[in-house]
């Protein structure tokens, strides 16, 4: 089974999906700066420094945070744009059995990817959160 995890903060650990075997493949799509580790393919995306800085500033104020959410610099949208421009991710997604949005900011990229695949006639399983991913892995086996 191939699982692609959209996790900007790289929250995936080896105990996250205990139902997977050594024959299965997990690809974690995250921002650059993550550490490489055994058993997981990491695809690191280049950070957008302006968006990072804005997100940090807005994080301290509810109004600013809300405004950022509806702007094109929303962290979820920025992450999706980075995903869209990365050939390696698109290749991995093409062979995936399951897409997982690990965090809030991975949700939009997962949804958009799922919709793109649907337009090309492919029904792609996609879930939000690791508990749902664990249940989906069991279901898809």
């Amino acid at each position: 089974m191939r699982v692609v995890v959209f996790s900007p903060a790289d929250t995936f650990t080896e105990s996250t999906l205990p139902g997977l075997s050594s024959d299965d493949r997990v690809v974690v799509v995250c921002w650059a700066g993550s550490t490489e580790r055994e058993g997981v393919t990491i695809v690191q995306l280049r950070r957008n420094k302006l968006a990072d800085s804005l997100a940090r500033t807005a994080g301290r104020n509810v109004l600013l945070r809300t405004l950022l959410r509806v702007s094109p610099l929303d962290p979820g949208v920025v992450f999706w744009r980075a995903v869209r421009g990365c050939e390696a991710v698109l290749r991995e997604v093409g062979e995936a059995d399951l897409l997982v949005a690990a965090e809030r900011d991975g949700g939009y990229a997962t949804w958009k990817t799922m919709r793109r695949l649907a337009r090309s006639g492919r029904r792609q399983a996609a879930v939000s959160g690791y508990p749902a991913a664990r249940a989906a892995v069991e279901r898809l086996r």
């Binding site: 903060a9 995936f12 029904r123 879930v127 508990p131």
Partner: protein, 440 residues
């Protein structure tokens, strides 16, 4: 009115396989009523909802008494919908805005976001169950507070007495002590209405009870503290002193790692304790539990591992076999969020083990009262790293010197918090109420 075998309708959103903290109280309550000769029907939500959103504890389902009938409402719960293929675009693009917009379905029925929409279905289900098998008593456990609706509905339509069981509080932030919703708000008015008709209102500690009695003095006589207590599952909680403790002490924490728990302060105190005390230098801290309510913050695990080589994160453990995990510890870390209304269920479970406890929480927490007389507790003076370090070092000393007799004494002391001792007085009183037996 049924006399020989009364019928309890128990409403709990969180019921196995839910792994939420309050679920143990629900299981213990229905089991205790069933053992006391009641027919029990539980009104709850589909099991899949927990398995696919917050994660489930499948072994806990087996702990429910086999005589308990579980009715699962086929509710539609978008907030818990984790299948992204059915999400609308707005939910994926701006989840906070989508959530706020979605609350309109709740608030027009009952003033509780994400849950208020279930009021009509809960009312219908309660009336349906009552028509099939007359209900003698209804208990709702909150949150969510919409769980109080079936009892209130049956009381209005058929005079059925009902109990409101608060595991938390509706209008009070138990961590900050702040009033979240004014008494004149819609929620405040609903709460007054619900409490006015209740036969009993249960709270988990005296601090939360007092707050509610101050808010609604009329409930004083009917307001009771039903502490969480602890219960034994497959493996006993009363574990022996570990034979291998001389090779390096093992400190343990079992519980959800949320933003509320002072984890960073603990880790800093842990590092300082290890730097100054030889017993701590060879010690290990093992953290068991979920990271975050939705179990998604696995980054916490990596951060913990990186923070100190003596710290390990080992993920969740089933309540059914939790005794086995406790048997591997020499000392426990009681890490709680700050708040004078905070007790937490694990206080009692920790106490039941008899293992020395480093109480790493604000001294004003309600948990302090519970453990005040414990022979196995060492409390930090504050949440400053040096004070935490002192408490850990002192706990290590106690863990090294505790004899089997000391351990047994601590376990015996904790016996007062066995769950059935909290519930039985209320079950007796409610049995008398519904069977009209005179008070003895």
């Amino acid at each position: 009115m049924t006399v020989t075998r009364p019928h309890l309708l128990y409403t709990a959103w969180g019921f196995p396989p839910s792994r939420a903290g309050g679920v143990y109280r629900a299981v213990a309550t229905v089991n205790a009523f069933a053992r006391s000769g009641w027919d029990v029907t539980v009104l709850t939500v589909p099991r899949e909802l927990f398995v696919s959103s917050t994660g489930g504890d499948l072994l806990l389902e087996q702990r429910v008494d086999s005589s308990v009938r579980v009715e699962r409402l086929a509710v539609s719960t978008p907030a818990f919908e984790s299948d992204i293929t059915v999400w609308p675009r707005l939910r994926a693009r701006a989840p906070e805005l989508w959530t706020a917009w979605d609350w309109r379905h709740d608030l027009r029925r009952f003033p509780e976001p994400a849950y208020g929409r279930f009021r009509p279905e809960l009312e219908r289900a309660a009336l349906n169950i009552h028509s099939q098998s007359p209900v003698d008593l209804a208990i709702g456990t909150a949150n969510p507070n919409v769980d109080f609706i079936p009892g209130w509905t049956l009381h209005r339509s058929a005079g059925v007495p009902y109990v409101m069981d608060y595991r938390d509080a509706w209008r009070l932030d138990v961590f900050s002590g702040r009033t979240l919703l004014a008494s004149g708000s819609r929620a405040g008015r609903w709460e007054r209405t619900l409490q006015r008709g209740a036969a009993e209102v249960w709270f988990v500690n005296e601090a939360i009870r007092s707050w509610h009695v101050d808010a609604h003095p009329g409930i004083s006589e009917r307001a009771h503290v039903v502490a969480n207590g602890y219960e034994q599952y497959d493996v006993p909680l009363a574990v022996p002193v570990r034979a291998e403790r001389d090779k390096g002490l093992v400190f343990g924490y079992i519980g959800t790692v949320t933003d509320r728990v002072p984890l960073n302060a603990l880790l800093e105190g842990w590092r300082r304790a290890r730097a100054r005390d030889p017993r701590m230098r060879s010690a290990t801290l093992v953290i068991h539990g979920y990271a975050g309510h939705f179990g998604t913050s696995a980054a916490v695990a990596r951060e913990l591992a990186l923070s100190d080589p003596g710290v390990r994160f080992e993920g969740p453990v089933s309540k059914s076999t939790i005794g086995k995990v406790y048997a591997g510890f020499d000392a426990l870390v009681l890490l709680l969020g700050t708040g004078r209304y905070v007790t937490s269920g694990k206080v009692y479970e920790y106490a039941a083990t008899g293992i020395p406890i480093a109480a790493i929480h604000d001294p004003s927490n309600a948990a302090s009262e519970v453990l005040a007389a414990s022979p196995a507790r060492v409390a930090t003076r504050s949440l400053m790293p040096d004070d935490i370090s002192d408490a850990l070092v002192e706990t290590a000393a106690l863990a090294c010197s505790q004899t089997p007799a000391d351990r047994a004494r601590a376990q015996h002391w904790a016996g007062q918090y066995e769950r059935s001792r909290q519930l039985n007085p209320r079950i007796d009183a409610l049995t008398r109420l519904v069977t009209r037996e005179p008070l003895s």
